[in-house]
Symmetry: D4
Subunit: 251 residues, 8 copies
């Protein structure tokens, strides 16, 4: 559309219907659309075979359905995070292709998509209570085309559990480590492998855990290099970061 408009303008310049000064003035008033081009291109590439993502936390089942209708029509695929069982029932009732991942609280409507080749993303979680966030990582990354290997319940209070899974960790393209409470697991993992570690603090804990601050600060202050951190409970964000890293390796 914009490209057509631009072509039309240039055509007019070529044919003399539009003077150069006039064309410059027109072009100046349209920079956003020019960027819009780039961004849309970029977005289109990003979106090929990849469902759009809706943050479902504060949206009603009805609102989610409405967004899904538009997105499925446009892209043939859509994905929503933070969806309770109650909302999922409604959404899946309306969209027969929708699949609900209960542990991850994610609903996905997807067409077939190209897989990203290469080593899998490993998702490690410290405790059983961190699994919902770990599953958000896993389902998001899988939906976006990555292979994911889960390594759950390997927290530092019983560190031998982690050692039993070192071979899996060492073969990752990138490791996402999900931990609440004191959030110490990423430091230990990063001290043992030479892969980038994405640390996800969770709000698991109570008292001076302050809804994930203790874990967040612990991860930011890690004594082990090779760690970067996302927001508390932000499994989706960690999956996106991991995806971009894995994609870089698959090229």
């Amino acid at each position: 559309m914009n490209e057509e408009k631009l072509a039309h303008l240039l055509e007019q310049v070529k044919t003399g219907q539009c003077g150069i000064d006039e064309a410059i003035a027109d072009l100046k008033r349209l920079p956003a659309e020019d960027i819009g081009f780039a961004c849309l291109d970029h977005h289109r590439t990003l979106r090929t075979g990849i469902p759009e993502v809706v943050f479902g936390e504060n949206k009603s089942a009805e609102q989610i359905c409405e967004i899904f209708s538009r997105m499925v029509q446009r892209d043939g695929a859509v994905m929503a995070t933070r969806i309770s069982v109650e909302k999922a029932v409604v959404v899946c009732g309306k969209f027969p292709d929708a699949e609900y991942h209960e542990a991850a609280r994610i609903v996905v409507v997807k067409k077939n998509e190209d897989k990203i080749s290469g080593a899998p993303i490993v998702v490690a979680s410290a405790g059983t209570s961190d699994i919902p966030v770990a599953e958000e990582v896993k389902v998001t990354a899988e939906t976006l085309g990555c292979e994911v290997q889960p390594v759950y319940d390997v927290g530092v209070a019983g560190i031998h559990r982690l050692y039993n899974r070192m071979d899996v960790l060492r073969c990752a393209s990138v490791v996402v480590v999900v931990a609440g409470m004191e959030g110490a697991l990423p430091s230990v993992v990063a001290g043992l492998i030479d892969k980038p570690v994405i640390a996800v603090p969770t709000s698991v804990g109570y008292g001076a855990g302050y809804g994930g601050i203790a874990a967040l600060l612990g991860m930011l202050n890690s004594c082990a290099p090779g760690i970067a951190v996302v927001n508390i409970d932000n499994g989706f964000g960690a999956a996106c970061m991991a995806l971009l890293i894995a994609k870089g390796q698959s090229k």
Copy 2:
């Protein structure tokens, strides 16, 4: 420059030296420069008769002199905030036109500039310790072309002092209120006049004042409508906001 480049491209389109597809491709790769146009225009307007502003806090006298050299050459005017007496001595030694406002900690090198017409900006301060920040507001706004009326030392602990100056406050285009400690003055001022109030918390105080947090939170939670707040000790930012408001009225 960019405009020339653009004209050249369009000329080539017109003469057929450059195909339309090729031109579209070129234009797509240059959106930033298009925006650059707009921004530069905008900046040029902004800068007419207005000195550039340098944040001097963490810069050495030498660094400030170097920046001044380039800016004076380009614009004939420059202004720097957060300049200690020691640095000012060095800077004013090198730039004979430079004027140092000690209380405001500002150095100004300026050409004559157009004044903004209309009602003055009033700068009110709660205590004598808040005056350096109030002076930063005053000297910044005056340098940028506004008339400023100071109303100092009218804090809420002796509120009759404020009442004695109500006539000045009522004639303002906008009132900047500078206060530390509990930061209560903006609420009282905003409850008495119908002008926009820009509240500047200062780091004056100790203990549970936490370097200005108490004043900042107080101002954000004001029970009187018509107040907006800038960062702690940010006299420069308040002056810029006030200037934009005053300019709107002078048009």
Copy 3:
């Protein structure tokens, strides 16, 4: 009333019914009423054609109705913010003239009022979740007599959307920017236009967003001059500040 009382006192002084010392003593005991005069005048001016505003958050539908009854009787107009759908049903049932703005959560009972002339207030919002606060700004400002132009869903993660609306932003009297999460939009807007920007952080987000602190701090620390900030989710306060700025320009 007070003026009558004062006239009566002076009459008594004139006629010798009241001695000068006695009159001085009386006058000293009444300063509040003198100020009361001014304040009432001032308030009367403020209130002309403008509904009183009730903060509805912690009030029951019954309490709101009771306040409305008194205010409508006195002023013929009233407005209440933070009204849930449930409360709105009750209130609108009792006051047939009342209009409920659901997105803004505002109920308005208003007489016709004089419009403020001049450029519109522009309200920009970063995400769709910020729209309720943006609507609080819009409905408040419109109710108070301003023209408002909304520019929604133009957050920095897809900045081309903002560029598409630059012409609207550039024609504003003042721009209110509503954003949650990292609250970066006001900096970008203020870097592109020469109008005052009022930044409204919202509690949209989770984890280390801490109910709007991240956005609030981001806005207070903006690297772009010409921004002032109101409390988290305080759409009403931003509208009042914007109104006072717009009124200054309309005179």
Copy 4:
């Protein structure tokens, strides 16, 4: 009781039934009871005609009734704070002498008591939302024997309302000032009178008010001397402090 025990021991020393060394050993093992004496005396004095106070927030109606039964039996009087209407219905149903102060959320069962003579305690509140806390101050102090004079809704956003009540404030033995949001009222009051001011921050507000922190910090950092502060929403504590001050004056 303890005194009897002590008398009995000394009697035995006197009669030689108990040796001095033995008595010393006994006395050493009983210091707590000695202090207990003092404390009980002190407590008894405190309690004369004064109901015991129960913090009702986290107690069920049943638990409150059970405590009331024991206290009424022992002291003939009892008082409980933070009692919801629902709990009050249950409690007043069981204790026909109980009186519920709904605004203050206090239930009182009391015998007649001696009044504290002298100037009244004045309780000032900034907004209507602060009244529940102000009423907790008022009902507590009245129940404990003080005369209380309320001065409500005199916040700094419309400071003429405060001036209209200066005569009441000036006659106080002590002024309790209750305010939420920015908590500026105590500073203004303390700047106008020469009585001790007890400042009570309330959790009224939202956003960066952080449940009363803004008001608390504002009050702690007051620029006016003669203010001391109690916990957020702690009307009961303020009333106790005021009572002790008023009692000192009545002696």
Copy 5:
């Protein structure tokens, strides 16, 4: 002065030189001065025999001397807090009547003053490191006319030290308790006596004491009624509050 002006106006009204309407207009424009009357009266009373107080923390010795010159000339007395030894040497060199209280960091120039009768203020401190703040309380209150009884180094880690001084505490008009670290002493004191307790948190401590926050929060959350709190290290403020309480009793 103002009173003369007012008398003159009324005289003119009486003689008909000034019409009533004209007089009303005049009076309306002067409310601040009317309040000024009251405030000045009030201030004059406050200041009788009482030195003005200068906060010396961020002022140079020269600035302090300049303020002293003006104040001594006007009032014959002055007092400054937070004065280092270095500044005191300069100030006392210029003002031979000045007396420096090193522990309290206070300089006083005073004429003889009327003493406040009645029971003394007791100042209790927890540790030896809290003594500077305790001395600020003591010297301030003594300078303002109160008798003060110090009870130092009676912290809760060796609570028998407090018991040895109970007789002194019980005879106080009001007790100021100064404590850093966990700030537990005020709770224990308030649990043992029936006098108002003013708690002063100090910045003594390290680590999670956060410059006095731990003590401040502890005191605000005291389980013992009859306590109110001032800012961290605010010995001066505590002394003013204590003075107002003691004065109420001496009347």
Copy 6:
């Protein structure tokens, strides 16, 4: 199991079925299992006669039952903390051997176990509202084999109550002190006895107590040596720490 595997490997080395290089390679790939040995041994020891502990806060009754089934089958014993009455009814319905400690919110299914000899653990609580956490300490420690002596409601606001129980405190192996609000009790206790004190802050309180922060900071900043602190409301953690200390003494 692992040991068998290891023995088998070594047997193969001995008989030449497995070469030394091959055995080294095998052993290197199994370090975690080696540690697993140690840990499992260690765990087995820890678990002898001691029920496993489930944190029940965010688990449904169904989830708890499922975990119980597996654990009872494996260990014959299990224990779960933070169990509401509603969940307890379900769990105890399914497990007839289960015992619910309502005040402590703990469910225990246990075989008979060896008692830890020596002096009892003393659990002191400041107020009645702290008792649920104190009971979590008590029931946990008893379930794990320790004798526990409760000393409840001995807070610093009435310190004579503590003195009456000094003999109990002095005979402890370790004292767990549970307190909310200002959390001053551990300091007083540690100043009176020569036993290790484990301090447990509780979330009891309101306003500036911030859900236990005031108590936590108070305890961390205690002026009395011999105190260490656990998380807010972490009765279970305090009991484990106390158990390890008591076990050290019983050997």
Copy 7:
């Protein structure tokens, strides 16, 4: 002394020189001294062969020498923590018996003392920067009579270093774990051994470590039971806690 006084009083009761009522009154006025007995006894026991401890941080070398003079005279022993090299030179110059432990920043003047028998205290530190705090633990505990085994530089970023020292850790009476940054080491240690772990957060780190908060929160939220925490950098406090635990085992 007090005991003599008490004996004298009882003697007078016995001989009739003092009536029983009179004696009761006397005894009531002396409870503090009775407790004083106990406390002094208790203190004497505590202090036998143990140097008094002076917190040297904010004291001058002169003040420390003065305190040392009195203490050495009374007890023959004294110890001071947080002593810089500069102060140590002065103090050791005056007290030839004084020994300075530079890494621990402790000066000790001690007579021979009885050793506490039993297993040693193990002090583990995460990084080399944590060693000063670890040394404060070590020197304090050794000075107070305990054997101490250091295990330094075994942080979680290279966890094999910890495994190499497991035999030392397993033989401890109690383990003090000193760590800054994310403070993860105590969790790992407590997951591997069955001894009580005292965690000491240090202020080592920068940025979001906030002077030790990250480590402190991490330790409080540890997922491993059997940990209790002391204040940031509080090596002395950890040593005292460890000493009391070790003493319990040696009895």
Copy 8:
């Protein structure tokens, strides 16, 4: 070494010199050394051609020289961060091969090393004050073998500067974005490209920037997916994370 020891043990098992039970016992006591193997291997790989890194902030020039001596001897290479000019002069005086990067505050002694192939790391900085941290990223990554492309001074207040560099950003393997104040740049960058973004908040700013908290929170709460965050001013950590990502792509 350890492998030899292990081989020796197995040899002894093979020859019967060591029984199987004895060997198992030995092996159990050595797991750490087994892990040590793995870790050492892993470390050796990591360290090939890569200098060790010393955090120089709190170390004296002498301490740094001492560490350098050992490391250069062992590895032939070493690198230290946070080195002031003063320290650098001393270190470079002793190590003629050492090179000081003043803006980055890094000293490097390095042998030739293998370069990591593939797309460069791009380091973008918002303001000129952020350049020291950006340079720490650049010099670290270059020293560790990566090509780095700097894009400085492209903050959001003049966003056209960023657009001019889009081609560089789009060709990165990974983009490190360094920003202080409100920290908005990472969001904008991540919204424009499909590469992983590592966000580095800096302590640049003042007032409510709180030494980098505003930037840190802003980055954690970014509305753009594909961002992970490191500690404030942690250029070194960001470079390590970027290196691991770039290495993954170069394989």
